[in-house]
Amino acid sequence: MREVVAVSERVQETPSTVTLRFAYPDEARPGQFVMLWIPGDDEIPMSLSYVGRSKGVTVKVMGSTSRHIQSLAPGAQIGVRGPYGNAFDLAPRRVLVVAGGSGAAVLAPAAEAAARVGSEVTAALGATTGSELLFEARFRQMGARVELATDDGSIGARGFVTGVSDSLLASTIFDAVWTCGPEVMMDKVIRSARRAGVPAYGSVERVMKCALGMCDACALGPYHVCVDGPVFPGDALTPLPEFGRFKREPSGRVVPH
């Protein structure tokens, strides 16, 4: 059931991403999401970027609703329901995290939780440009080895983060790869991990309405992202013809990703 809570803090993380923090008592695990209602606007699924008692979501500007969310100041009232969906399995000891853009939002709390129970975390973070790298300091603070890539080469390797993750997979032994970002990127990461013999898990985004496994808006192959995901084993994702290629718009119409 939904609770109306007040935004406690707003943090400008990068020029295009903002974190909103709010107190929400229900226990959440890294990887899960909430349905965030901006009264008068829309209600959208947001993976939690902070999962403690003070929760958080980190929102990148995509359209009018995300712009509206970013404009909210401390004290603003928002509706929250959830948490919904599954979580990352925190058992692996040596984890490679591969984040594209705002994908770091869901991977940071998972990596933090893993690091806290003694896992070695390596993070490959990618962004269009240096100022858009998300949560670099947060990954360093948890003791992760951090490798960076930017499309324009302003910080770290020039090019896609998959170049960095591919060389990490070639040089280092991992027990698991966690990835979130554009689906084409995740698809590449999952395939590279498979070649290296490492199980990969990706957090997937789709249009959501009910978030309860009923309305079919988030249908992805035989799955419903809201209840079967949002975290899927890579081996479940790559065989799906639509993964990285198609999505459904709110009408249910299939459109290119």
Binding site: I44, D216, G252
Partner: protein
């Protein structure tokens, strides 16, 4: 061994448990999934003439174990796009029933005709969506419209036509009889009950559309009453809908007069395995009660058999004509 097969106005079903329209029906793969999970047939989302996004979120409000409020706003990809989803479900063997909605009799007829062209086993007319202005229940609350729309559809398709009626009326029997006069093959009752919820902190409705429809266990006695009232007053089969979660719920609907039932909200409450669970539990319950076939007890509660050796005659107004 008890048998769950039923014949619904000529449509043979392997069991009487249909996936209700609006649940899991956006993708063909989901429809196939519900079929493979044990549904006796799967009803598509209600399809209109062109792609419709539906209302902005929030479109659903959970009431916990009582069910849900929803105002989805009839999202659908449109009749041009949707047939490929039906084909995907049919390719995996599913018995598909196509649901359509429109703004007038001509539109319903055209959509039903095109839906029938996909090879669906039956058409269900959504005349009962309680939260879309000028569509669904705005028409479906008027018996004359119901009759005219049904007649227009009947003239264009040869497959069974099931008319889904609204409970948001003083007289559901009049709607069912209007559908029968128009040539309906069966009635399904009920769609959701018009309902609303308000957040007192924000002083506004919690659904973006304001009004929505209530589904789930909370409405089971209402759906049951509609089936109970309609069954003796029409000579076509009735499909019971509303709050079904257990085999006993199914049998209550059957004994009230339903030949088949639709299951919707329980998919969210219990998962898609609800279909296989209901089938198993229904067989067990039928075995316990000495019922061999579903068809044998359709409307049985209207007869009111002898209890403890004391014969009870049915009240004459409840007897089937």
């Amino acid at each position: 061994m008890a048998d769950l097969k039923v014949d619904l106005a000529g449509l043979r079903l392997r069991n009487p448990l249909l996936l209700a329209s609006g649940i899991w029906g956006e993708s063909g793969e989901s429809l196939a999934g519900a079929w493979e999970a044990g549904a006796g047939g799967v009803i598509t989302k209600s399809i209109g003439r062109s792609a419709r996004l539906g209302y902005p979120n929030p479109t659903v409000e959970s009431l916990g174990r009582w069910g849900f409020l929803n105002a989805m706003g009839l999202p659908n990809p449109g009749i041009e796009e949707y047939p490929k989803e039906i084909a995907a479900a049919q390719a995996r063997g599913a018995t598909v029933i196509g649901s359509v909605f429109g703004g007038d009799a001509d539109e319903y007829a055209e959509l039903a005709y095109r839906m029938a062209g996909t090879g669906v086993g039956a058409i269900e007319l959504n005349l009962s969506c309680p939260h879309a202005e000028g569509l669904g229940s705005d028409l479906g609350e008027d018996p004359q419209e119901v009759e005219a729309i049904t007649r227009a559809v009947r003239a264009r398709v040869s497959v069974p036509v099931i008319v889904k009626i609204t409970p948001n009326t003083a007289d559901p029997v009049a709607l069912a009889q209007a559908a029968e006069r128009g040539g309906a093959s069966a009635i399904s009752a009920i769609n959701t009950l018009r309902a609303i919820s308000i957040d007192v902190r924000l002083r506004r409705p919690t659904l973006s559309h304001g009004l929505g429809g209530l589904s789930g266990p909370a409405i089971k006695p209402v759906g049951l009453a509609c089936v109970w009232q309609i069954y003796p007053k029409v000579s076509i089969p009735v499909v019971g809908v509303g709050g079904i979660r257990t085999a006993e719920d199914v049998l209550q609907y059957v004994m009230a007069g339903a030949r088949a039932v639709e299951v919707g909200t329980a998919v969210a409450l219990d998962g898609i395995q609800i279909f296989s669970k209901l089938s198993q539990d229904l067989l067990a319950l039928m075995g316990e009660l000495g019922i061999e076939r579903i068809a044998d007890v359709v409307g049985a509660a209207h007869i009111r058999p002898a209890v403890n050796g004391v014969p009870l005659a049915a009240a004459s107004h409840e007897r089937r004509p």
